[in-house]
Symmetry: C2
Subunit: 161 residues, 2 copies
Amino acid sequence: MHGATHHLTALERAEALCQTRGVQLTPLRRDVLRLVLEAEAPIGAYALLDQLKASRPKAAPPTVYRALDFLLEQGLIHRLERLNAFMGCTEALEGHDHDHDHAHDHPHQFLICRGCGATREISDHAVEAAIAAAAARGGFSAPRATVEIEGLCAKCGAAKP
Amino acid sequence: MHGATHHLTALERAEALCQTRGVQLTPLRRDVLRLVLEAEAPIGAYALLDQLKASRPKAAPPTVYRALDFLLEQGLIHRLERLNAFMGCTEALEGHDHDHDHAHDHPHQFLICRGCGATREISDHAVEAAIAAAAARGGFSAPRATVEIEGLCAKCGAAKP
DNA sequence: GTGGCATTGTTATCTTATAACACTCACGAC
DNA sequence: GTCGTGAGTGTTATAAGATAACAATGCCAC
């Protein structure tokens, strides 16, 4: 029940979201988004570039970085700072039926497995609240937090504990 | 009550910590640590290299990266993933009288001001607990979290709200 | 004094990211 | 119609961050 169907759905959601916002999900941007979604783990810009070159021999670093910038601005993908890599935004693309304008900048955290590299996006309100409180206590306003939690996922933890 | 005295104290603490552990805070490593501590905000490896060259013309990228690796291993500095930059570890160097072995890997978070760049390390137990709970709920074990909170500090928030 | 180990020096290279400028194409103003 | 404007993309070059690989030094144990 995953695989191609899953990705088509996500791409269709992305398309709809962009139409609503009056921005263009061009073929290039769509291709980059598709490649990000097809990757099993967060993928780096140059790995993406290599794959993109299969269908677009003319692609160069700015090609992929500009597409990634667009997708980031639209909240369709996230950047993982620890990995210098990108992954699809679960919230925006797997439709938990939130307000779509919210997808631009929603609180989120990542669970990164140091065994297999698989990464999940979560949206934990307790974490978010604790961070907001800590920021306020420190006199900080308008906080936006990068939260990347590295550990062993259930599968890898069972394999080699 | 800050300034030179503050930094000397921190360097002395670092020295003592390394002696206890049987590792060497060599002159080079000490210089790099001093430069990191003297910076007003997190500082990048190449900015550090430029400054280091004033006293050590022979310095090259590996010079500074190896020193930084050592300081990171000893928990004397932290790396800020969003900034590709380094800052001193408040916990290890400003002595809140914890168990010193704990300084190797203590839970911590950062408050980064997007106005002035000033960054503070905090150690918020509620944030840590919420993250541990979220990781456990996701089936993740042995979590270590990168938490970098960007916002406006009290000074910058007042200046341009 | 020599063998091993930690540290530093040295050169080259790799990865990640952006600057700067040219070209195309769609669209509206006139 | 054609002229300009702006978004998107192509193209070349370079900046910024990080590491690989090997050589040289210095110190201590034996």
